[in-house]
């Protein structure tokens, strides 16, 4: 009798098991898709690229900014990547170098070399919502790509341009964010297609479109164009990655504070 009961329980557990699997909450489903989307862009080891930033005001006036950068992937899943950015234009900032050591749960470490001062300064990185070089791209848009920096929620599926997307809502779980929430559309290859950013008051602030996806190393999807339309001030920023190369074998020591001067003027 006792044995019988035990077998029954085992049977019931096994019978219910698939049900438990599918009974994923909206939060779990959101997190799973966000994680898959994030991991889509991982495994690059290191990366070099030139970047072009086009700033367009509501009157249609355009200015272009050029930077070049290197990124080192952190193989430790609990810590962030390191990046080194060299500013080429506008001409008065030529020779400026910025080094970032990003962290997942902590503030990033950042150093800046300014040619006019001739010194390397450790700068505060709590400036999450600040504009990158006067653009519509905030610092947190670059540093906050890790899915663990947000709480996620799956909202359902949505059709746009005859394609079905997963619709996710996310809330930053770090301090000083300029956003109250983000709504992302992710395609069936787990590539982010579009993100709506809501400001601290809950108003729609800007929309990001990720375009020109390229498959690198047969497994890594990276968008080579990023377009940000600010709904409130009507400015547009287009960010393009040119000559992107992955896994080129950059020395880890290039990402140390003392190496900034090797790049600086």
């Amino acid at each position: 009798m006792k044995k019988m009961k035990f077998a029954k329980i085992i049977f019931i557990i096994f019978a219910l098991f698939p049900f438990y699997l599918s009974a994923e909450t909206a939060e779990e489903q959101g997190l799973r898709i966000a994680k898959a989307s994030y991991e889509n862009g991982r495994g690059f080891t290191d990366m070099v690229s030139d970047q072009l930033m086009i700033l367009i005001d509501p009157k249609g006036n355009e200015v272009t900014r050029e930077v070049s950068g290197k990124t080192l992937e952190n193989l430790d899943p609990n810590d962030g990547d390191k990046s080194l950015t060299y500013f080429k234009t506008p001409k008065d900032v030529e020779g400026t170098v910025m080094l970032s050591h990003t962290h997942i749960s902590d503030d990033d470490d950042q150093w800046l070399y300014l040619p006019a001062l001739g010194r390397v300064k450790r700068i505060s990185s709590s400036n999450k919502s600040g504009a990158f070089m006067g653009s519509e791209v905030a610092f947190e848009d670059f540093s906050g790509t890790d899915y663990r920096k947000y709480e996620w929620k799956f909202l359902g599926e949505e059709m746009e341009n005859n394609e079905t997307f997963y619709k996710l809502e996310s809330y930053p779980n770090y301090e000083n964010s300029g956003y109250s929430k983000r709504i992302s559309l992710i395609d069936n290859l787990n590539r982010t297609y579009k993100v709506d950013f809501y400001d601290r008051k809950g108003e729609l602030l800007k929309t990001l479109y990720l375009e020109d996806y390229v498959l690198y190393k047969d497994k890594i999807w990276m968008a080579n164009t990023m377009k940000v339309e600010n709904i409130q001030n009507k400015n547009i920023t287009i960010f393009k990655w040119l000559n992107r190369e992955l896994d080129v074998g950059i020395n880890k020591k290039d990402f140390e504070k003392s190496s900034i001067l090797r790049l600086a003027d």
Binding site: P90, K91, P115, G130, R200, R262
Partner: protein, 396 residues
């Protein structure tokens, strides 16, 4: 006159480099700017009958090339100025003219170099390698290149630097017509040294620096001719005689970065000639990001410096400053503040504004207003030198 030719030559040379870069496939960078400046003095005629206006042109050119897949680097960084009124302010300097060889963990460097030590915004008391050009800027922040052979060893525990520095350069002071200038002229013909090798003495320095968590730390020792001479009134010539003692200085600089707060400290103990002295300077900088829901930032800087030498010019001073950065497409920024002598009643207000007006043009407006100045303060000589300067930089 010669300086004028040299600067014109450099200007043409710079344009030539830029043109060459566009034409040839050699991998190098060349860029720079030319900056005309106009100054007006608005609270008196100056204590030494100087002119109430001045015009100046400042030029800077940079050339960088990497050889052998980036294992070697050549850097040339030249600055120069032609000044209408003060011949001491007209100069040309190769701030950097260096060759670097990169090995795995070691960097070897030969040539002229600018080395900055320290963390503070205002009182960089531990910064000792390069000589100051007080004619260019009386606060001493503008420096000349220092010839050196230097080795850097990058270990996992931190960075070790060794500097061997021949060819000492004497400090440059404003000339007779300079404004601001010292009460008396510095006599260039009577310069004396403690060291028997005088300006041929080979100076040396070592530094260890590391990053530990939120802390950036540097420990250094310098032994050589003091960059800052003692100035003594010569009763016969009624000029100042400069005397360069041997300085043996040990220093520490630390910055702690805690969110929007930066905490800074520089401290030193030094034997200058026969006397030992102690100095400390530091403070804090707090930044409010996204001021009132705009993209602007407002930084609040408070710094203080103390030196135990009673006759030292900056032995008890404080600075309170605000830095506003608009973070707009024009990189608009304004820094304004007050420098006060805490042991007297002297004070000075300053403001510096800058904005990009075109992709290759930037405008700077600097203002300095002297408040009350004690008659026994060395800055009493500058009391009537409140000024407004407009600079426009054209970049190449």
């Amino acid at each position: 006159m010669l300086k004028k030719y040299i600067i014109s030559f450099l200007f043409v040379f710079l344009q030539y480099l830029v043109a060459l870069q566009n034409a040839a496939a050699i991998d190098y960078k060349a860029y720079g700017f030319i900056q005309p400046e106009i100054t007006t003095f608005f609270n008196g005629d100056g204590r030494h009958d100087q002119s109430n206006s001045n015009q100046s042109i400042f030029v800077k050119g940079t050339f960088i090339t990497y050889l052998n897949n980036g294992d070697q680097k050549i850097t040339i960084n030249t600055t120069g100025r032609i000044d209408e009124k003060d011949s001491e302010r007209s100069y040309i300097d190769f701030q950097k003219f260096k060759y670097e060889q990169y090995f795995d963990d070691i960097t070897l460097k030969i040539g002229n170099e600018l080395i900055f030590w320290g963390v503070n915004e205002s009182f960089n008391i531990v910064d000792i390698i390069n000589q100051s050009n007080l004619a260019e800027d009386i606060s001493g922040t503008k420096k000349f290149g220092q010839p050196m052979i230097s080795l850097n060893y990058n270990h996992s525990y931190g960075n070790f630097d060794l500097f061997i520095m021949p060819f000492f350069k004497e400090r440059i002071f404003p000339g007779r017509n300079g404004r601001p200038r010292l009460a008396l002229e510095v006599d260039k013909s009577t310069v004396a040294y403690e060291s028997s090798s005088k300006k041929n003495k080979i100076d040396a320095a070592v530094r260890y620096s590391t990053v530990y968590d939120d802390y950036d730390i540097g420990i250094a020792h310098f032994y050589g001719n003091n960059r800052s001479p003692e100035l003594n009134v010569n009763p016969l010539s009624q000029k100042l005689d400069a005397y360069y003692p041997i300085l043996s200085q040990t220093s520490l600089d630390i910055q702690s970065t805690k969110g929007a707060w930066l905490y800074k400290l520089e401290t030193l103990t030094a034997k200058n000639g026969e006397e030992r002295h102690f100095g400390i300077a530091g403070g804090t900088e707090y930044t409010i990001y996204g001021l009132r829901e705009t993209t602007s930032d407002l930084g609040i800087i408070v710094e203080y410096t103390f030196d135990d030498r009673n006759d030292f010019a900056f032995n008890n001073e404080g600075v309170l400053a605000l830095r506003w950065t608009k973070n707009d497409i024009k990189s608009t920024s304004l820094i304004a503040g007050l420098v006060a002598d805490m042991s007297g009643s002297s004070n000075r207000f300053f403001a510096e504004f800058e904005q990009r007006i075109r992709d290759d043009l930037k405008v700077f407006i600097d203002m300095s207003i002297n408040g009350e100045i004690d008659a026994d303060d060395f800055t009493y000589a500058f009391e009537e030198d409140s000024q407004l300067t407009l600079k426009i930089a054209k970049y190449f």
